[in-house]
Symmetry: C2
Subunit: 502 residues, 2 copies
């Protein structure tokens, strides 16, 4: 079996993955700007790198996964103008900016938890690393690759290009075209006049008097530019050179291009050796966006409360659906795709359900070990998760035949499968099957429904004088820790808090 | 009805609560040092202030609740010696300190969520406010109330006492006794020699070469003292003077005493106008502690896996149990107390269950409005939650009589009660009754158990050729979104992800 190969945006090729200091792997992923709820597109990115981290862990690497929280410096316009996104929200909602940060950070964590996207090893915030960012800006100034204007500091792209070179290597943009493009569409916006060159970008911005988020710096009170935080935090926690940097496709330019230039200017190293970019999510073939009126949030899927959706779907169904396109391809969201995911997830759940009850005999008429290899090969081939899922289902189809005595499996293969399958599904694909896919709310709802049904059956048994059955229901419920209480108003039930009640 | 009165540790008296800028209330609570899992004692403190925040909100105040995360500077010994708690854990577990911080922050949030302790409005970290802490230390130095020794900065308690005064006012400790006490037990520990006076405390500590967590400062590379973070963060987010500061009893000295001195030295204001301290939790009459071998963690309660416990209890049962002592009294943890809480919680759940089915008629033979006032009075009397709970149960007892036609309730009272009761229980007491008390895991377990029982009933029906009943069970389950699948291995079930499946 070949080893892991990953597509490197920097070379444009799939390359064998060789970590700098095995078994350690340093992975940095750009996290959310917490001024808004994360939408499905964001979730897709975080899911991609969740599976990458899980797969690296399965392969035996010890992953330090850093995913930041952007809580300052991300301006409305990706260029260096417009209001700070968090500052603006704070103004609109009449909150302290950090209240905005807290609200959307809590919401983000909740969504990640429901999608079973594991927390990163470190989750640093931009405001928590102002000192480190200032230090980095100072170093870039020392190198003569930035300049100070009116209390702001800008990265000097032309000087960088002359002395270091490689600006545009990641995104494929050419400096000349950037100038032309910027020139054509250029508006006279605050800060733009201060730049020597339209491709220059802010490392530190002077705070206007009404700007709340501000810190002292050698250049006066201000706040960091958007790009510098990731350079500072990845360097602090992973080193000047580390293994993998991931993020959404849309971050390639300007964010990652600028980040790379900053790293090179400051440390002489480009930061990550592998750059990975997750493609976008479309909705029924169209780019998803607020202005397009087709934006989707996880809560829409979990509640079913959306014009596109016939019903609610569980977080695991959403997770599985988002795994059905390769991370470098566009993923098209459709209700049918969700429905298909739900069905396939049910097949996986079913197989894991009957697996312990199967019996092995004779010789397998299916090569389970090469099937297992084929799953690994798919993941090793630039994390081809949809292919791994398709092959997983092929195997399960065969397993279904075994269950129906239409095929054989040897004792040895069965034992291996019993150990492998649940781990692969839960640890690598991150599908919560045993602890059940439905959200907490829907599991509780299901419990309510089923209890309602049992109480109804018991009442009917009593009406038809089948007291034996009625009592049986009550007694057996009690054995599993559920107490029924009859009153004139009807029967209520109460969970005694634990299944260990005898 | 009288207004809210709160016990102020500073005066030692219950005082009428008058916020500085109504309807706004600024509340600061010392959060966890994230080097370890939170134990039941910590949970009690956070629960106390969760209810305070809920009650203030009910009263119509707009609360900005700041609860910090201590991720640097808290040394093993509350005096200024010993290793940094997080640094030590990082060394022992061979992790980057921020990995330790992340692990226990995630765990802390999980426990808070299960206990339905709402997230604060802002959750600032000490490492996220190094600049603000340095600025505060600089101001205290400017005031001549601190001194620099070998790259560390210490607060000069004697100078403070001479020029400002009031050190010890919060904790009731006298400076003379502190000197005597410190002198008697004093060991020659790193840093102690540098102090001019044994009661002095560190504002900034020089980092030894092996210390990982370090930042540049005017005094060289180092890290903040433990106490300065709360002064810096409460001032930043709530102002130099604000309403309430809460924390565990054990934080009164030295932490809060030092914090108050720092505030006074730096801003001329003492910070909060009301200091509130939550008392400790004992286990069967003994102080809880690791060395005592009787420490309890929330997971012990939720799993039932602890020598003291006969079974598992839900997070809501634990929450209710911890509400059964006044916050300024010791709360004694016993299995009986948990069992009693479980029973009383069941009564509340039962009442909320039959409340919608009651019918009103004639004149109430119970004064529901004065009963409601009595709940409010209990909470207004320095947050007497156990008294409010007791009175709540008294009312429910009467409601039970109504349900059994042994008492009357007027239409008007019933309507008021239907609007009031669920809100009071869920919004003020924070008891999740509808969304059900059991933890997710135990709800899922219960669902598994109940489904097992239904499948068994269906099988028995088939064996006894009662196909009507067997089919009914299958069909009705399908209606509530649960699919049964029969195979030779038996029957499995599958939740279709949503209760809205038709």
């Amino acid at each position: 079996m070949k080893g892991l190969r990953l597509h490197n945006s920097l070379s444009g090729d799939k390359e064998p993955f060789e970590p700098l200091h095995p078994p350690f792997v340093g992975l940095y992923v750009c996290g959310p700007t917490v001024y808004n709820d994360v939408h499905l597109g964001n979730c897709r990115t975080f899911l991609t790198f969740d599976i990458l981290r899980r797969w690296l862990t399965w392969l035996g690497y010890r992953v330090r996964y850093v995913r930041n929280i952007t809580d300052v410096g991300h301006l409305e316009n990706d260029a260096d103008d417009g209001e700070d996104k968090i500052g603006k929200k704070a103004r609109l909602e009449q909150l302290e900016p950090m209240e905005v940060v807290q609200r959307y950070t809590v919401g983000f964590h909740e969504v990640m938890q429901r999608l079973n996207i594991l927390p990163p090893s470190i989750e640093p915030t931009a405001t928590g690393h102002i000192i480190e960012q200032i230090q980095m800006v100072e170093k870039i100034l020392e190198q003569g690759l930035a300049y100070v204007v009116n209390g702001s500091v800008y990265f000097d792209v032309q000087a960088f290009e002359k002395r270091v070179g490689g600006y545009g290597a990641l995104s494929g943009r050419k400096l000349d075209e950037l100038i032309a493009g910027a020139g054509a569409g250029r508006r006279t916006l605050e800060g733009q006049d201060e730049k020597r060159h339209p491709a220059d970008f802010a490392l530190w911005k002077k705070a206007s008097p009404q700007h709340i988020m501000r810190w002292p710096s050698p250049w006066g009170e201000g706040f960091p530019g958007w790009h510098i935080e990731c350079s500072a935090m990845s360097t602090k926690y992973l080193g000047a050179e580390f293994d993998i940097h991931g993020g959404g496709f849309d971050l390639k330019f300007p964010h990652h291009e600028c980040e790379r230039a900053q790293n090179l200017a400051c440390t002489g190293q480009g930061g990550p050796r592998y750059w990975m970019h997750s493609n976008m999510l479309t909705v029924q073939g169209k780019r998803m966006g607020k202005s397009e009126g087709n934006a989707l949030w996880p809560r829409d899927i979990f509640s079913g409360d959306h014009p596109l959706l016939p019903r609610a779907y569980s977080p695991m169904t959403l997770r599985y659906m988002m795994m059905q396109a390769h991370y470098r391809s566009t993923l098209d969201f459709t209700p049918d795709a969700l429905e298909a995911a739900d069905k396939n997830l049910a097949k996986i759940r079913e197989a894991l359900g009957f697996l312990p009850h199967l019996t092995g005999s004779g010789v397998s008429d299916f090569s389970w070990s090469s099937w297992q290899d084929s799953l690994f090969e798919a993941l090793n081939d630039d994390l081809n998760v949809p292919l791994a899922c398709a092959r997983l289902l092929e195997g399960l189809k065969h397993l279904h035949q075994v269950a129906h005595k239409q095929a054989h499996i040897s004792e040895e293969d069965l034992e291996a499968l019993r150990s492998f399958l649940p781990r692969f599904v839960e640890e690598v694909l991150g599908l919560q099957i045993q602890a059940t896919a439905p959200s907490d709310a829907s599991a509780l709802q299901a419990l309510e429904n089923v209890m309602g049904l049992l109480i109804q059956l018991r009442n009917e048994a009593r009406v038809s004088r089948n007291y034996a059955l009625a009592d049986q229901i009550r007694d057996r419920l009690q054995k599993v820790g559920i107490q029924l209480a009859d009153s004139r108003e009807g029967t209520t039930w109460h969970l005694q808090g634990s299944s260990s009640v005898s």
